[in-house]
Amino acid sequence: MWEALQFDFMRQAVVASVLVSILCGIMGSYVVVNRISFISGGIAHAAYGGVGASIFFGIPIMLGTGLFALAVGVLIAILSFRHKERVDTIIGVIWALGMAVGVILLDKSPGFKGDILSYLFGNILLVNKTDTYALLAIDVVAIILISVFYKEFMAISFDREFAMVIGIPTLRLYILLICLISISIVTIIKIVGILLVVALLTIPPLIAEKFVKSLGKMMVLSSFFIMFFSILGLQISYKFNLPAGACIIIVASLSFLITRFLK
């Protein structure tokens, strides 16, 4: 590992993984306790439309994809809030539609399109300084919002109807929560790619769930797990010259199986 750290891109990758881990441990815990991994999958895949749109219109990809994911998040939040019983079908449609839009826009984009596969499978080694600063800013804003609304988010996650009855602005907070999840998804796309987002978001909190009794501790423990999986995955990827995203997910999945087997 230390040998790998002599390369600037490796150092960037490690710093970025730590920053992403903090956010994803927190938001992944919400995904698990709310049982909305399908919603997260929908947002992640629909975000491909954002990748396509960014390249087509020539705007920075992370910015364009982030805004697109936010829009999808708001839409899914409102629809899933209003039509609880139809929600899986609606998300399925948005999931596919976003990807289709992405494919068409990329096809119609002139010139160099970059490494499209890196969006599907991630490439943490392409993280640059600007990305790192953006990740840091996102982490800070998200942590502030979560600490302000921690109890309210817990109430709407646990029992939405009770939250409505006691006068918590449930829909608005639910939209905010899904938006934070959308942003965290865009940051993970950078590391493991669209196709593997849900795994990195949900496996660590699922492991953590067995060891803790409060949501806050679940978040902290999940963040540490993601950090550990990412750094170990990166090391394996460096040593054996394998794709980093896939290595991280394999480390995470094996850890999940081992802890389930032991506990």
Partner: protein, 250 residues
């Protein structure tokens, strides 16, 4: 006369299937009303309409004289237990504290008041010593107590309880109705229940709901009422419960 709950000509259906038809219900302040009826008869729907969680297709509902949405934070609500994610990482105290969020006690809300209210309700339901337990470690009955504590933590003017004694040990059933009788001195209580036995010696009035609602001013439950509320004959037999089920005979 100001009513705690008023429903006039309320109709509600999910899609094409009517759940409640032409329901009139007037609950006085200080009332202790039991709602009986078969599963799927519309009892929970009735409660959700009162809370403004569902909107009726026809009719009018007033809660404490105003629209449900504007006054529902003054209600302590106990939902049915089967709707919860019981592996949720939350402790008993965190659950009770949830009752102090939102608009609850908005004037003069303080940390000290919240702490006091949470301790008071947890002691009342006998869970203060288990306040650090995650709810996943509780028995069915203990969990129900924790949810009742949350409803009471809102310092409600009305309590709406949806099957508070399901999954609860018989001992707590007795305790619960003692607590409710005590609370009823200052709070209006509406309770959906299936245990006709324990409750009928405590309530002041009964409503039978099976698509239509029949209100009975008297608290005593009779066979005629039950045959109207339930599609099949129900026997009024006390199962050796150490309670007076029927009023004293002359």
């Amino acid at each position: 006369m100001e009513y705690a709950i008023e429903m006039k000509g309320v109709c509600f259906s999910y899609g094409d299937s009517p759940v409640l038809e032409d329901v009139d219900l007037f609950v006085k302040k200080g009332e202790f009303l039991a709602i009986l009826g078969p599963n799927g008869g519309g009892k929970t729907t009735l409660l959700k309409l009162i809370l403004g969680l569902l909107v009726p297709q026809k009719g009018e509902i007033r809660l404490l004289g105003k629209t449900p949405i504007s006054t529902r934070h003054r209600v302590g609500y106990l939902p049915q237990e089967r709707d919860f994610n019981l592996s949720f990482p939350i402790t008993v105290e965190e659950l009770a504290r949830m009752g102090r969020l939102g608009k609850v006690g908005r004037d003069g809300k303080s940390k000290a008041k919240d702490d006091e209210a949470v301790q008071e309700v947890l002691e009342l339901v006998g869970l203060w010593d288990k306040r650090d337990w995650p709810i996943s470690n509780l028995s069915g009955g203990q969990r129900q107590r924790a949810f009742i504590a949350r409803a009471l933590a809102t310092s409600p003017e009305i309590l709406l309880l949806d099957e508070p004694t399901s999954n609860v040990d018989p001992e707590f059933q007795t305790d619960l109705y003692q607590i409710l009788v005590e609370l009823n001195k200052r709070i209006t209580i509406v309770v959906i229940t299936h245990d006709i036995g324990v409750i009928s010696s405590h309530v002041k009035s009964v409503a039978c709901v099976n698509r239509h609602l029949t209100f009975h001013e008297e608290g005593q439950i009779t066979e005629a009422m039950l045959s109207k509320a339930y599609p099949c004959p129900v026997d009024l037999v006390a199962h050796g419960i150490p309670h007076r089920v029927f009023h004293r005979h002359p």
